[in-house]
Symmetry: C2
DNA sequence: TCCTTAGATGAAGGAAACTTCAGGTTTGGA
DNA sequence: TCCAAACCTGAAGTTTCCTTCATCTAAGGA
């Protein structure tokens, strides 16, 4: 069968009636809920459908396979994060770096920590081969936004914006991951956010040529 | 069956003869190799045994189930990292902070990047429910070592050592993760390492009371 | 009202692993 | 040499779950 192709991962059918749009949303929501309640291991397509108030067959009309379902769920979340970053980066263009960076960090943190349980649960999904690609793509997009923002800064920089953006991203994800992996993220959240702001502040100050003696 | 208990995750049998020790090592090595070559999805106990030159039954004599096998593999790797951190932390006690921190970072990076492929492949394992716990425990242990080291620093600090250690750990894992998730870790490794050292330097300097104007 | 299309159903097929166990082989001490 | 314990084998049992498809219902224009 030379003509055989791998099954597409895009929806096999797009909802046209209002009825089915609701179904798709319910399925995606049920996926997250099950991920939270039962963990990735116990997440089956049948259970997802059941919780969504639909039948397995219905699920398979909109998602060609289980992997596509998980990818869609992850993509939804990552797109939210990417969008908040895009927004704040465009808002902050031209402002002094000392304003840019805290705004970026606050926006990122607010987005990631709005629902810590969900963010944490999705880390499990993103480690699967395909999820990994999605996370990487999103991260790359976000990096470009940050770079573009940094390039509009009035201060001259002692480093390439790509490097600064990379480090900022590493700090943010590093700290947020550590938080999300801790038993009680909310507890340490304020202190860690505060310290991350401080860390970023001293870093970008050190990267600003004007502070050189 | 009220007496039924969950199967233990510790080895059901400990190797006593040299022959079986070799088998266990071969199995652990085969697990990593398969993880690298085929990915987590295609890793089965049968395939692991096959690659180790043993049979499935043998595998199950030393690992009660697949999960235990993966956990053992992960634990081996995490213990290596933890040990290098412990070592460097104990070596650096009493030295000035400006010496401690670069030493810590260099040791951590060297350990994580000695075999980038393996480190990256194991991230997939650590997202499974049990692996997550192992990573957390190891990280907690390492944190304590870092704190203990910081407490012997001659300089007075403007922050609790726990906070500084936490941030250092977040930076290190954040940067190393970003590297490992990139397509060519080796390529950006020197530059990122350099910049992380710089970041940490300005941070701990800012945390040292002596630099206050 | 009628009919075409969209949407929903869920039992059953089928493939993929995990895990066991009854029986064989090797080792090393007595 | 001999034997008991350690070690190894791998086909088969069992479970679990993904995915399909023949069939049914609902929607909405003509």
């Amino acid at each position: 069968m030379p003509g055989a192709v791998a099954p597409s991962l895009t929806p096999r059918k797009s909802p046209v009636q209002q009825r089915s749009s609701a179904t798709v949303e319910a399925i995606l929501e049920a996926t997250i809920q099950l991920l939270l309640k039962e963990g990735k291991e116990r997440l089956t397509t049948t259970r997802v459908a059941e919780r969504a108030g639909a039948s397995v067959g219905t699920l398979y009309q909109y998602f060609p396979n289980k992997s596509a379902l998980l990818q869609a769920t992850l993509r939804q979340h990552m797109d939210e994060i990417a969008e908040t970053i895009r927004k704040v980066c465009s808002e902050q263009r031209g402002k002094p770096i000392a304003k840019m960076v805290p705004a970026l960090i606050d926006a990122f943190f607010a987005a990631k920590m709005r629902d810590p349980k969900v963010s944490a649960a999705l880390y499990a999904v993103s480690s699967d081969v395909d999820g990994w690609r999605i996370a990487q793509q999103t991260s790359k997009r976000a990096l470009k936004e940050i770079v573009a923002m940094l390039e509009t800064a009035p201060e001259p920089l002692t480093r390439e914006p790509e490097m600064i953006a990379s480090m900022l991203q590493s700090m943010m994800t590093g700290v947020s991951r550590k938080l999300l992996e801790s038993p009680a993220p909310e507890k340490h959240f304020p202190a860690m956010r505060q310290e991350l702001l401080f860390l970023a502040e001293v870093y970008v100050q050190a990267c600003s040529a004007s502070t050189a003696a």
